[in-house]
């Protein structure tokens, strides 16, 4: 005990026990440059894509945590409604492609016109 005390008087140990690891309570998920990236900035496409993808719904919240990260770990329902606000309108064509209307292909039209889809099964 005394020996340790004496030792510490002369030396400032850099390794100290900081307690159990915890996840920081506030996390900033705003996209930043990867620490191993040779570049100093992210390509423009990062911001452009997010802006386009987040124009509606819960992803379009204005706080800094809305840009990803925790969104992926939550069930969609918990993020709130995706309906447009009062007096606000948007077209389905503005949504990501997978939510847009699908055009009939020639093959499907032929299948229907041939007298029934089951004929092509």
């Amino acid at each position: 005990m005394n020996a340790t005390k004496q030792l510490l008087q002369h030396r400032q140990p850099m390794i100290r026990f900081l307690g159990k690891r915890t996840t920081p309570s506030k996390l900033d998920h705003t996209p930043k440059v990867h620490p191993a990236s040779p570049s100093q900035s992210l390509p423009e496409s990062f911001a452009t894509y997010r802006q386009k993808a987040q124009q509606h719904g819960p992803l379009n919240q204005s706080n800094q945590y809305s840009t990803g990260g925790w969104i992926g770990s939550k069930p969609g329902a918990s993020l709130g409604p995706i309906e447009a606000g009062k007096g606000e309108f948007f077209d389905r064509a503005e949504l990501p492609k997978r939510f847009q209307r699908l055009a009939w292909t020639q093959d499907e039209i032929e299948a229907v016109e041939s007298g029934g889809a089951s004929l092509r099964a």
Partner: protein
């Protein structure tokens, strides 16, 4: 909610099963697109996470995700898990390095130890078989871990259909597709080819061919004096080949290795029989004849020399592998080196698509990929992950081994950082003496003002294991005095580590 609805009661999809579609008039990929577009009842469930690539980054992420309770699928086209590392990289090469070292030691280093051996013969086929046994045991082990952690293993080649769908060409024939809320790209890397030489993995080989040669070549030229080139060059040199390493730079080991350590290592390897041509560039190669001719000249220009070899190992580096991944379908670009661009949470510009391992930034090392696999899944499940890119060790498994972590002297000089250096030779270490294996040193570099460790560089026996202590010290932000005041067991090689730390902040006892 916006999808057109096809009644579940419909007996079949409108377009029939995959086989029927393929036998008619449409290319299978178009059939696929239609089927996925419509979202028929036969469509597979959506996974929480789909991972393309079952290498170290991919399989570790898959297991971690499975442990975290995510529904996860991992797509791998090789037919066995573990990627380059397990199948044609770190693991098979270590098997050959270990066994070729034993062979070499039995041939050259037994008499003075009081061991007399008779006729020593090499059975290369059996040595290769031992390597294959190690590899297959480990890859099957990962398959078991997949089952244990509920990871769906899809054997096939994955390609993006859209931002949430990956189409898979199955190895056993046929196709399937899998949808994921999140997708990880972990497709790894491949050896960079040398312009003008055709890789046939027999005469002109990469590391893949270097672990599978059927006979010991008489003459081998290694283009590139980095870790892979020196390790594989060592193997074949020990087994009897005359190995010449041609390196463009002025030192071996690549840019990360400390210049002093690189010089010492080169001397030790030269003593073992390897020849080195540094500051030398390969201008062209001719593999049309029975042997391969390599034209070289001084890097800064000079007299040309032609090297003749039975086998040429191309080890000039690796490049990210994204061929056939369908990146165009989702609009993901790569940088000038072919790496996928990501942010600090491994996200591409499409936030639910993340990239880990060799195919993105950072050193192409299996343990770095492993860290990223865990961290990327934690970003998904907890919103927080951790990888310290400043404390990733590098190891070269020659004999003696070379290992380092943190910064080297030339980097610190260039950055204008004031530092102190302390080193300790293994020739003054008791255990190294008893092992008759005393070549090498441990070298510490610490900040001149704070004594915080900035880098640890080792060449010597067991360096690859010893560097773990240096990495831990660096990760914790330790000073050289912290390490020096920690008790190390006697007699062990690790005492050299402690003494080098002592030499950094004060003086070593035994030197």
């Amino acid at each position: 909610m916006f999808r057109p609805v096809v009644p579940r009661a419909a007996p079949r999809s409108l377009l029939g099963p995959a086989t029927a579609a393929q036998s008619t008039f449409r290319a299978s990929n178009i059939y696929f697109q239609d089927r996925l577009r419509r979202g028929y009842a036969s469509e597979a469930e959506e996974k929480d996470l789909v991972i393309i690539g079952g290498g170290v980054a991919g399989y570790v992420a898959a297991i971690k995700a499975g442990q975290s309770g995510l529904k996860v699928a991992c797509i791998e086209k090789r037919g066995s898990l573990g990627g380059t590392c397990l199948n044609v990289g770190c693991i098979p090469s270590k098997s050959l390095l270990n066994n070729s070292h034993l062979y070499h030691q039995i041939l050259h280093d037994t008499k003075n130890r009081g061991i007399e051996v008779g006729d020593v013969k090499l059975n290369l086929q059996t040595m290769m078989k031992a390597k294959e046994t190690s590899v297959s045991g480990l890859t099957k082990g990962i398959e078991f871990l997949f089952k244990k952690n509920n990871v769906e293993y899809i054997k096939g080649t994955g390609a993006f259909q859209d931002e949430n769908t990956v189409a898979v060409n199955l190895i056993d024939g046929g196709e399937t597709s899998v949808r994921g809320k999140n997708i990880f790209i972990a497709t790894g890397s491949e050896a960079t080819p040398f312009p003008g030489l055709t890789i046939d993995e027999k005469k002109v080989i990469t590391s893949t061919g270097a672990i599978a040669l059927q006979q010991v070549p008489k003459k081998m030229v290694v283009i590139g004096g980095g870790i892979i080139g020196l390790e594989m060059g060592s193997v074949w040199s020990r087994l009897g080949a005359e190995v010449t390493v041609v390196e463009f730079l002025g030192q071996i080991g690549g840019p990360g290795m400390d210049a002093e350590i690189a010089k010492m290592t080169q001397k030790m390897l030269a003593k073992q029989g390897m020849k080195f041509k540094l500051n030398t560039k390969v201008t062209k190669g001719d593999d049309s004849g029975e042997s391969v001719k390599i034209n070289t000249e001084a890097a800064k220009g000079g007299k040309e020399e032609i090297l003749d070899a039975d086998v040429v190992l191309v080890a000039i580096g690796r490049r990210p592998y994204t061929a056939g991944l369908g990146l165009d379908n989702i609009g993901l670009e790569t940088d000038e080196k072919g790496r996928l661009v990501i942010d600090q949470e491994y996200r591409t510009k499409i936030p639910h698509i993340r990239v880990i391992g060799d195919v993105t930034f950072g050193p192409m090392l299996a343990h770095k990929a492993e860290e990223e696999g865990v961290a990327a899944v934690e970003y998904l499940t907890k919103g927080y992950g951790h990888v310290n890119y400043g404390a990733i060790p590098s190891v070269m498994y020659t004999h003696p081994e070379v290992a380092w972590v943190g910064q080297n002297e030339q980097e610190l000089k260039a950055a204008g950082v004031k530092y102190r250096v302390g080193s300790f030779p293994f020739s003054a270490n008791s255990r190294a003496k008893t092992n008759l294996d005393t070549e090498g040193i441990v070298k510490f570099i610490s900040d001149a003002n704070t004594d915080r460790i900035l880098g640890v560089h080792i060449v010597g026996p067991n360096a690859g294991e010893m560097i773990a202590e240096g990495t831990l010290a660096l990760e914790y932000g330790a000073s050289s005095e912290d390490v020096a005041r920690t008790s190390h067991a006697h007699p062990t090689l690790s005492e050299a580590f402690k003494e080098a730390a002592m030499a950094t902040y004060d003086k070593a006892i035994h030197y």
